[in-house]
Subunit: 215 residues, 4 copies
DNA sequence: TATGAATGAGGCTTCATTCAT
DNA sequence: CATGAATGAAGCCTCATTCAT
């Protein structure tokens, strides 16, 4: 369900402001407890407009999700471009650190993601989680393919399997790094960032030992 | 805040039924979205009764938490008793498997726990999480102390530190094992149980290498 | 509606405690908002008992009223006895001061009285107010009759009329003295007591000039 | 706390009808026992609307108070204008009679005021009473100032003190005149109105003797 | 007789959604 | 197109009263 043309015709900064404020609301309260009343009053727009734009609360939610995930994807795709040609494990490590930075810089996004995962009655839940996993898988698959082409990975590697391992490892790392700090509101503090970087390096090293070419 | 004497004077099967049904509601909907209306109508009791028993929605929640956690504790304490005298790492592995079995047998409990962790405005959140962590810490500390007495652990081991490592490792394992199956409603399927057991063995082996006595 | 025999058979200190605590509740919350739940829980008795004793919330209220007013009447009757033989205006002044003291000592009583006057749906309201006024009238009538017999009052005085005037004057004085202090919770402070006494003297003096014998 | 813009945008006759019906409810039942359910069903509007308009029960109450007091103030200010140039004591007497008439014409208003004074847990009680007292003080002060300018009052008069005396006297008179008729529902009957006017004249005469210029 | 568990009506409040202007 | 007033279901909670034990 795309947003209504009414919404698409809005000046794009207003579009962003609406989606951004909605992200804040969903991240703070989860899907069900998020209040469109609060949202429109913070935005200073009419309540009816939200329904014109997105038809529904589920519609808004879905849109916010796509918008937010797209922000992350854009950033990661750039990382992938910028590191083209480098060693595959270095690229993995840089990607992982980028993820950590994004979480630190904008915890709402990860909070939102966790809500989608753990709240029960979120609309489109299956679709949303699958969409994330798909991107994640493709992203890693890309890196690995490059790595094989450059001879940095064992030639006999089952790429699908390897992607699964890497994906799971990285995601679990991110979640774990967040979980240790749930008490303080899901926000990584600076001190921890350094520590996290060190851990990330170790993690990637482990992967290299498992998947890297022998030499 | 103990439950009111009104509740304590109830026949204990009714007590259990109420707490159990409430656990289901909280596990399914989280704190805020759990509906006391739904609960009482499922229980077939009057709305007022719940408030006589627990005073509050937070009061009910707190009680359900204590009740549920106590069930887990009782079970684990028995595991600890039953394995007394065995090798410390074997005991850790058995405990871990017991945890996995409990999750498989009664996913509501773990779901409830995750809700407490990830939902924002849960009452007593800090206290509740701390209470779990404390038990977890004490439980492992006990095993390790026995292990040191029996010479199964390095004599120079910093027990507090070791307990922290083991605790974190085990908890993360449980959470991870659940997260892989969130899509299907937080329930481990049989096939996965076998796989999980294998992983658990590997995990414990790693710990043995790190903490075990040299011989 | 007298209290049930069940209540009359109670040890009289328990009777008093129940009525006294009920007075507190009614004085603090008014009739409608007074909570029998709170009352029984403060008393530590079963909820059913209240209904056995007094049948109803109105029944309890009526009983509390009679009990409380009786306390005042007893006190004032004693004042009347103790001052027998003294000058009638002195007796009026002493009575007035006694009223002020009672208000200062136990504001709940007067608060309760004001609630009966100003709250809308109080049961038996008419009867209760009439009962107070009747006592008040008879009390003053008694003093005046003595005063006439002793030649302290003009012989041609219309006693009924005079009683009315005195009654209204005194009651208004009490209410006024309380109203000035409503903000502070209906309680006369010590400093004001002195002031009030002075005013009372002036008031009685005025009455003497209007009603007294010429000499 | 002003009423929400939602309310201000309503056609003003609807605004008045809502506030007026709410005044009736509060006057009849007091704050705590006033029922918004009853109110909305009498008004024939949806329950949610009241909360959009006033946010709260306290919010509605506060608004009703301001609205009602404003009506009184408007009327009294007009009296003050219309009598400009007349003798200060005449103006006081007219004002007092105007107050009596308003009470007779619309007893709900005074009943409401008494509820605020005597009910315990009324929100904003302090602020509301103070607001009345302030107006009252300023009103009288105005009359007295004019009186001094015109040489109708003793030149050496302490205006603040005199205002206090007049204010207290008039207010007490109003309350007393109402209290005598509480049994019949706070409504002055016609017969009493005549009597009250006579008393008012006497009262003002007393003030003149105390405060007036000597000649 | 005393108890206290059960009841359900009614209280205030929030919310997503609709629709006339 | 935007607005925002109206709606009413559903939420939590309190209370007086009843009745089986």
């Amino acid at each position: 369900m795309p947003p209504s043309s009414t919404f698409n015709n809005l000046p794009s900064d207003k579009q962003e402001r609406i989606l951004d404020e909605a992200l804040s609301e969903f991240a703070a309260k989860g899907y069900a407890r998020a209040s469109l009343n609060r949202l429109v009053s913070r935005l200073g727009i009419a309540k009816g407009s939200i329904f014109k734009y997105f038809r529904d609360k589920p519609g808004l939610f879905s849109q916010v999700f796509d918008f937010s995930v797209e922000r992350v994807k854009r950033h990661l795709r750039r990382v992938r471009e910028d590191t083209k040609g480098q060693d595959v494990f270095t690229r993995l490590e840089i990607s992982l650190l980028a993820g950590l930075e994004m979480i630190a810089a904008n915890p709402r996004l990860f909070q939102f993601y966790l809500r989608v995962m753990f709240e029960g009655d979120v609309p489109f839940r299956g679709r949303l989680l699958a969409s994330i996993r798909l991107f994640s898988h493709d992203y890693i698959m890309d890196l690995l393919t490059d790595g094989v082409a450059d001879g940095q990975l064992r030639a006999d590697l089952d790429l699908e399997m390897a992607a699964l391992v890497v994906d799971a490892t990285l995601e679990r790392f991110l979640i774990a790094s967040v979980m240790e700090h749930m008490d303080t509101g899901l926000c990584l503090k600076d001190a921890d960032a350094a520590h996290a970087a060190q851990l990330a390096a170790g993690l990637v090293d482990t992967l290299r030992r498992g998947l890297g070419a022998e030499s």
